[in-house]
């Protein structure tokens, strides 16, 4: 038997409960802490956790394209890079800076100047093509960064500039259609939350926080080819006549679509750094002018509708002047007794005034107003104006007489072209549209079909020898139209030397397809009559446009009759 060990001294009786209590306390402390972290203050740790596997990504949405009626792009957004620098933070060797300068296609001196100029942020270049930006990123210069942005390109350039407009920063429309249709074109970027793996690949879509909304494409009524044609001819006429400005509008007579609308002066929407504001104006829609004689057909139509005259009623215009309440109206040529048809053909102010004065002012006002004068053409274009047509109650007789030949009333060119749909159709005013329209549209009757046909015949006489605009004739097609030559308003009085020459017409007369309105502001190369300045533009644009659209001819090709030199019929307004 082995000897027994000495028994250990007995432990104090309190020790076990104390240890047990301490352990229990610590356990409870841990439980409480974990409860606190799980239930109460859980935000921080959850954020830390999710930041390791989940990401919120922006889902880009690009702006819709603007295309012409054939689908040719007029405005496209494409992602590009902007290179920016934080000059204070730049650490670069001279070699790196040289490489950067050559990549940016910028002299090294200019780069250094830019980097020295600003404190904490400067754009070095925007836009930069994505591959160039990758090349710059590969240089790994501290303090040089890039960011992706959308840049909008306008392939149509200056030809389309005033219609399409342009976008500013962050691709938001600033002018023209870009501004008017911002909500249709603009995309809204979305957000989504994803789970990524350690290689940075997206492995799961957790939630879509906000679905992206892509911008939608927009088809304009504009036809690129006709637009270019109109622009080219307008530009040529403005240079030939040393004019200050001009505009041309082409409307589809059946659908009311604006298939071409060009202005001068223009700007390049792709490079606007030195563009002055006034060049951006779409004069055909935002500016008004006094139309002059192109208003006469409406006066005559009102009189025909009221039964006051017939096309063959004789109006005595001798002696070429008419005095009303102290003011005197002149004709450029003394004509004597004219039929109503000839009043239009020769563009007699006295004749038009006399016919107007036979009408109650309210009847004349009503015809003009229903033809769309005094109200904006509702194209949705920003800044479009409605011109001025004062209420008939305020007309004095002299005003009624001058409005008859287009003074004391102001219009914009689109409005004037639209008003001529009354004569190209059988008396109906068609709504105009800058956007593509499918099929023919219904108009609103303004004058009776008989009156419309009668005026149409008078307008055809205008371009024939003996009329004011033989230069508006088009080989192979019957055309009809009216000249306008108006003194420009210079403050409150009319200028004696500055004119606005215009021509509005349509063709082919047998079944009108196109309406073209031309306005040349302040021609100063000697000629200033609408028949001499604006009518040739009408003729070349109309002829080429009808051929481009393969419109069947309605006259033999040798139909153009040029009156002998010196027998031109001039008009004062």
């Amino acid at each position: 038997m082995r000897p027994a060990k000495a028994p250990a001294p007995p432990l104090p009786a309190f020790r076990a409960p104390v240890v047990f209590g301490a352990l229990l306390f610590l356990l409870l402390l841990l439980l409480a802490r974990s409860l606190y972290l799980q239930r109460v203050d859980n935000g921080f740790l959850q954020a830390q956790g999710s930041s390791r596997y989940s990401r919120d990504l922006e889902v880009p949405a690009h702006r819709g394209r603007i295309v012409d009626r054939m689908g040719e792009p007029l405005a496209i957004s494409t992602p590009v890079k902007a290179i920016w620098a934080w000059p204070e933070k730049i650490e670069a060797t001279p070699d790196q800076l040289r490489a950067l300068a050559s990549a940016l296609d910028m002299p090294p001196g200019e780069l250094n100047r830019k980097l020295a100029s600003a404190g904490d942020f400067i754009y070095l270049k925007r836009p930069v093509a994505p591959d160039v930006a990758d090349h710059i990123a590969a240089l790994q210069i501290k303090g040089i960064h890039d960011e992706t942005e959308y840049w909008r390109y306008y392939p149509g350039g200056e030809v389309m500039s005033q219609i399409v407009g342009f976008t500013g920063d962050r691709d938001i429309g600033q002018e023209g259609i870009e501004l008017a249709q911002q909500s249709w074109l603009g995309g809204k970027p979305g957000n989504r939350r994803v789970i990524i793996n350690r290689r940075g690949e997206i492995v799961e879509d957790v939630a879509s926080i906000r679905a992206p909304q892509e911008g939608r494409d927009l088809a304009l009524a504009i036809d690129s080819r006709l637009q270019y044609l109109a622009f080219r001819e307008l530009k040529a006429a403005i240079e030939l006549n040393k004019a200050q400005a001009g505009a041309i509008v082409m409307i589809d007579a059946q659908t009311g679509e604006i298939v071409a609308l060009a202005n001068w002066p223009v700007y390049n929407p792709n490079n606007r750094t030195r563009t002055v504001r006034s060049k951006m104006r779409n004069r055909a829609l935002t500016d008004t002018f006094e139309p002059g004689s192109s208003m006469k057909p409406f006066t005559i139509a009102a009189a025909l509708d009221a039964g006051k005259v017939t096309p063959s009623t004789i109006i005595d215009t001798a002696p070429g002047t008419l005095t009303i309440g102290g003011a005197t109206i002149h004709d450029a040529h003394r004509e004597g007794a004219l039929t109503v048809e000839q009043v239009i053909q020769k563009s007699s102010n006295v004749g038009a005034a006399k016919i107007a004065l036979s009408l109650p002012s309210s009847a004349m006002w009503q015809t003009l107003s229903e033809a769309g004068f005094g109200t904006a053409p509702h194209t949705g274009f920003p800044g479009e104006v409605g011109g001025r047509l004062r209420p008939a109650k305020t007309w004095r007789p002299i005003e009624q007489a001058t409005i008859a030949y287009g003074h004391g009333i102001s219009v914009n060119l689109v409005q004037l072209a639209r008003a001529y749909t009354v004569f190209s159709s059988d008396g109906e005013l068609k709504p105009v549209s800058l956007l593509k329209v499918d099929g023919a549209v219904a108009g609103r009757p303004v004058i009776t079909p008989e009156t419309a046909r009668a005026v149409r015949h008078m307008l055809e006489m205008v371009v024939l020898p003996g009329g004011t605009a033989p230069k508006a004739q088009v080989p192979g097609y019957r055309v009809a139209g009216k000249t306008g030559t108006a003194h420009k308003l210079d403050g409150k009085t009319y200028s004696a030397t500055e004119y606005v020459a215009s021509f509005v017409g349509f063709a082919p007369v047998s079944n009108p397809r196109l309406i073209v309105a031309v306005m040349i502001d302040q021609p100063s190369a000697g000629q200033y009559y609408g028949g001499a300045v604006a009518a040739p533009v009408f003729s070349s644009v109309m002829g080429a446009a009808l051929r481009m659209l393969s419109v069947p001819t309605d006259a033999p090709v040798n139909n153009v009759v040029v009156p002998p030199e010196g027998t031109d019929v001039k008009e004062e307004t």
Binding site: V159, S224, Y228, G476, N558
Partner: protein
Amino acid sequence: MMARLNVLLLVVLVACAISLVTSRHQARKLFVDLEREQARSRSLDVEFGQLQIEQSTWAMPARVEKVARDQLHMQLPDATRIEVMDELKR
């Protein structure tokens, strides 16, 4: 008897668990592929836009006219040299 059933259920459970893991893995792989293709589709979209810009720049009427006139020496025929065919009488 009871023990056998339990073993069987265990085997089924393990099989299910493993198939869940594989299908989950498959799903992730496919999702990565999907993401990659979507990114490709976006970059192709971008390229398409750039090509459209390029094409319309080349096809600008002003340029076409210049090339036709200057390089190809083309000209517009005047109206007397244009014969119009009537579709109805053909």
